[in-house]
């Protein structure tokens, strides 16, 4: 456990989930680990928020789920991106890039 861990920024969790799932279908724990790995432990995912977010995204039609066996032969609920989910990811990515670069510009100008 690292003191540098940050809770996922409000509103970005959905995007992180979608991005993670765009590479391959995963179950809940797999998504959490992948997010932590990719962000090199900057973001820490809380299981309550993550699983509820998965429920919400599935209901919105961006994910679909399926019970399958994992490599260590446990039954797990695997989530994968739907076509609508892919479109949503593109939208959110574009939006995020726009905002992040705006903030970056602002910080640069201010310095």
């Amino acid at each position: 456990m690292n003191a540098q861990n940050t809770d996922v920024i409000q509103g970005t969790l959905d995007m992180l989930i979608l991005k993670t799932l765009s590479l391959q279908p995963l179950h809940g724990f797999g998504i959490a680990r992948r997010v932590e790995q990719i962000t090199q432990g900057v973001f820490k995912v809380n299981p309550g928020s993550l699983l509820t977010a998965l429920q919400r995204l599935e209901r919105s039609g961006w994910l679909e789920s399926e019970w399958r066996h994992t490599e260590n032969s446990r039954r797990a609920k695997f989530y994968s991106l739907t076509r609508a989910g892919r479109k949503q990811l593109e939208l959110e990515t574009a939006d995020w890039t726009r905002r992040a670069s705006a903030i970056a510009r602002l910080l640069r100008e201010g310095a």
């Binding site: 179950h27 299981p47 309550g48 994992t70």
Partner: protein, 893 residues
């Protein structure tokens, strides 16, 4: 698409709750197992790995709960569980649930029904464009509204600049022949601009033209939608068709729209142009053109205010111009009465309706107080329960939500029942309503009233739901827990006592008002109408057709034919078995015969041109007074000798004899009735006074003439038939007898005299019934409130009562203790209520007949009634308290 998915998934979640929960649990468990496995892979033991996973991820139960609370279905689930709990609570205390639902239903039902009835009459704009610009214009007679003459209408129409259009109208009741039975229709003769003034045009065909007002114009008629449907089955080719009315062919030129409401005569089904001759106005005052029998409406120009129009009309009335001569009886010297159409049609019923509205607001208020009282009593009892829930960790929000759900569960059925009661109430009001209630067709359960009722229930529900919870939060937990052990007196009791006092006071106000109205009705029914109304059958017989026309070649022939028809019909009626006596009259006492057509000027020979009296003119058959049992006081009655050729004679009423002759004998004196250019009538007898318009109105100056000796033959006469047995049983035989003389004459308004009397007083009876109903409801609600408070107080004082009994108090002492407590509240309420009742009595004073607003019997009687009912409400809990076993109560703690 997404909404659809949300809905279906949510629904699936609701229906397959266990399966869904299982899936969530599985998913969470798998998540934690993966985490544990990972920690184990780093070299921890099973036990350590499990702990590390929990430390990292939190409590799996909390995670599962978090997932379960996602989605709209979860709110529904909480609501359902709240409802289930609330229903269980109510079931456990059905008395409370039933009493509050009924209380709400009574309050809401009564107020919705009354508001629905009053709204279209007093408040809702009339169903015309810019209804506030329509004014009624009346002549003034003895300070009151009086009909105008055609001459006055023409003068105002030509001189006034304030009006876009003015119109006159009068009743027209043509006989429709050609069907299975002759029918009399209700309609109006109107001047050409009538529909223009109202702002409504025919839906089919066209409006009247000014040229059709000419005395020699064509016979045209506009039909109501209803008549068009009933008579012609809505045939679209109706325009130009002929209808036979009073023996003449009338051409249908238009049909009014379906929803058209003629507030000036709601029963009107057809309209025809008036036929007055403008040239007669300056030529001769003794013509129909100067008879005061028309009503007048006008539509203001958009830029003119009502005040401007009123002042202009007043100026015209007070400054006659030579080119507009006026006879004495329409001099306009007392000015004109101008009022908006809406206020005008409601002016006779307005005070009564406002009184009823006030009464029903009191009922609603009492109902609200009672419900609040009941809910406070309950929350007092449940203080402990909520304290325990709070201690177990229920959040404030959750408890308030639970309470609000409970209150709503209570007020919604109350509201639903109330709306059902309102529907019944509206129907009852329409059924009971007096004939002079305007806009009866517009009375229906009004959506505004419906919303009002619903909002009232919701607000009562929310307020009474939240007050106790606010109260709970104010108390700390400890007090609450202590309270649950019943040893501390309820803190609500003080509030509840005040609420009960309020209820008693309000109930007394209603009861005293109802008592006064009841006494007034009693006084009214004690008034003698001046004739014997039992076993008396009445009906109106119309004579219509060209055989009754007075032609220029034979000016009296039509009148003679009319008289012959009526006399033959009367002979036929007299031959019907079971008929004791029969007669006819031009005006029937206590009927709806419009006073305007019965009123005539009368002048004795010693009076100058300006003198005279307004009298009721009765053109009767010989034997009329005997049939009606109107007593002869002096001289003789009319008989068979008083024919057309014989000397003209008259009977006068006792009031007229007293007014003009004092103690001197009127016999042999002479008078004119109606036109002055006819031979004098000689007074041959004085008969008893008869009430004509209402039992409450002392307006009895009357002159009786023989139909053969009047200056015109009335086309419609009322037959009065004294029967041996039940009068209604003779109706078919009598009608058949009249139709045996002439099959084409309509017979209408067939009614026994007793029924007629009741109909005349329908408005008073209507108000009385409403007030009585409200008074009884208020009394019951106050009794329930009193009972509830005392029961609560007895329950809370069980221990005290037990100790008293243990210390030697007798049962009667305890009985007296509680009853005294209750009666103290009652007396306090009565003291406050009496001052309220004084104000109420002043308000309804104008509705009373022969009864002082401070009638001692009404005041004492209703107060005593309230005390007795309150006494019973107190006695029941007191009796229960008196039976308390001291050992039991002390042990119960």
């Amino acid at each position: 698409m997404s909404i659809w998915r949300h809905a279906t998934r949510g629904l699936r979640g609701l229906l397959r709750r266990t399966a869904q929960n299982q899936e969530i649990t599985d998913e969470v468990r798998q998540y934690f197992e993966e985490a544990t496995t990972e920690w184990k892979a780093r070299g921890l033991t099973e036990e350590e790995a499990r702990r590390a996973a929990r430390l990292e991820c939190g409590n799996p139960v909390v995670v599962a709960e978090q997932m379960q609370s996602y989605g709209w279905e979860n709110g529904v689930r909480t609501l359902l569980s709240d409802l289930r709990f609330a229903a269980r609570q109510l079931r456990r205390n059905p008395g409370f649930a039933i009493v509050s639902a009924i209380t709400l239903a009574l309050g809401i039902g009564a107020s919705t029904a009354i508001f629905s009835a009053v709204n279209p009459i007093l408040f809702k704009p009339l169903p015309y464009p810019q209804p506030d610009r329509i004014l009624m214009i009346w002549n003034t007679w003895q300070g009151a509204r009086s009909e105008v003459a055609f001459g006055t209408y023409r003068e105002l129409q030509q001189r006034s600049r304030s009006f876009e259009a003015m119109a006159i109208f009068e009743p027209w009741q043509p006989a429709l022949t050609g069907g299975a039975e002759p029918e009399r229709l209700d309609g109006q003769s109107v001047s050409a601009d009538f529909f223009h003034v109202l702002g409504v045009a025919p839906a089919l065909g066209r409006d009247f033209r000014a040229s059709e007002e000419d005395p020699n114009g064509p016979n045209v008629v506009i039909l109501s939608n209803r008549l068009w449907q009933n008579l012609f089955r809505g045939d679209p080719a109706i325009l130009g068709r002929q209808v036979k009315l009073d023996g003449d062919n009338y051409t249908v030129i238009g049909v009014m729209p379906r929803g058209f409401e003629d507030v000036l005569l709601p029963s009107a089904e057809l309209w025809t142009p008036t036929r007055y001759d403008q040239r007669q106005i300056t030529r001769d005052f003794n013509t129909w053109e100067w008879g005061s029998h028309l009503r007048m409406v006008g539509r203001l120009r958009p830029e003119v205010t009502r005040a401007q129009a009123i002042s202009e009309l007043s100026k015209i009335a007070h400054t006659p111009w030579p080119q507009f001569p006026r006879p004495r009886w329409v001099s306009l010297e007392h000015g004109l009465i101008v009022d908006s159409l809406q206020e005008d049609i409601a002016h006779t019923v307005r005070p009564a309706l406002l009184a009823v509205l006030g009464a029903v607001i009191l009922v609603l208020l009492i109902a609200c107080v009672n419900v609040v009282n009941l809910l406070l009593a309950r929350s007092g009892q449940r203080g402990g329960e909520f304290a325990v829930r709070g201690a177990l960790g229920a959040s404030r929000r959750r408890m308030v939500r639970q309470l609000v759900t409970e209150s709503m569960l209570l007020s919604l059925p109350g509201g639903a029942l109330g709306i059902a009661a309102a529907l019944g109430g509206v129907r009852t009001i329409v059924a009971l309503s007096p004939a002079d209630l305007p806009r009866l067709d517009a009375i229906r359960l009004d959506p505004a009233a419906f919303l009002f009722a619903f909002a009232t229930t919701t607000i009562i529900g929310l307020a009474t739901g939240v007050i106790p919870s606010v109260h709970i939060s104010r108390n700390d937990l400890q007090t609450g827990l202590r309270q649950s052990s019943n040893r501390v007196a309820g803190t609500h009791l003080w509030t509840r006592r005040w609420l009960v006092i309020t209820e008693v006071a309000l109930a007394l106000v209603l009861l005293v008002s109802a008592g006064l109205l009841l006494r007034s009705m009693e006084q009214l029914l004690r008034v003698s109408p001046g004739f014997n109304s039992s076993h008396l059958l009445t009906m109106q017989v119309v004579s219509s057709g060209h055989e009754f026309d007075n032609l220029p070649s034979a000016p009296e022939a039509g009148d003679r034919a009319r008289r012959r028809f009526f006399e033959q019909a009367l002979d036929a009626v007299r031959r019907v078995p079971g008929v004791q006596r029969a007669a006819f009259t031009s005006a029937l006492p206590l009927s709806d015969d419009p006073p305007v057509v019965i009123h005539y000027g009368a002048q004795f020979e010693d009076q100058d041109a300006q003198g005279g009296y307004d009298v009721f003119r009765y053109a009767v058959s010989p034997g009329y007074c005997q049939t009606m049992n109107i007593p002869l006081l002096r001289g003789r009655l009319l008989d068979e000798r008083d024919t057309a050729g014989a000397p003209q004679v008259a009977l006068i009423s006792a009031s007229l004899a007293r007014r003009h002759f004092g103690n001197r004998s009127p016999l042999g004196r002479r008078l004119h009735v109606g036109p002055r250019n006819r031979p004098w009538y000689t007074v041959v007898g004085v008969v008893g006074d008869v009430k004509q318009t209402s039992l409450a109105i002392d307006q009895e100056d009357a002159v009786y003439l023989s139909t053969e000796q009047t200056w015109f033959a009335d086309d419609t006469l009322s037959f009065v038939i004294r029967t041996r047995g039940e009068p209604a049983a003779l109706v078919p035989a009598v009608v058949a007898a009249i139709w045996s003389v002439d099959r084409n004459q309509p017979i209408v308004r067939i009614m026994t005299m007793d029924r007629m009397t009741a109909v005349t007083e329908a408005q008073r009876r209507f108000i009385l019934i409403l007030f009585e109903a409200f008074g009884i409801v208020a009394l019951m609600l106050a009794a329930v409130g009193l009972y509830g408070v005392l029961s609560g107080s007895v329950a809370e004082r069980t221990r005290e009562i037990g100790i008293r009994a243990a210390l030697g108090a007798r049962r009667t002492d305890i009985l007296a203790l509680i009853v005294r407590d209750g009666m103290r509240l009652t007396l306090f309420g009565i003291a406050i209520g009496l001052s309220g009742a004084v104000a109420a009595a002043r308000v309804i004073a104008s509705l009373l007949f022969g009864t002082s607003p401070f009638d001692p019997l009404a005041w004492a009687g209703t107060t005593a009634l309230l005390m007795i009912v309150a006494g019973i409400a107190c006695w029941v809990p007191a009796w229960r308290a008196a039976r308390v076993e001291p050992s039991m109560t002390l042990r119960a703690e």
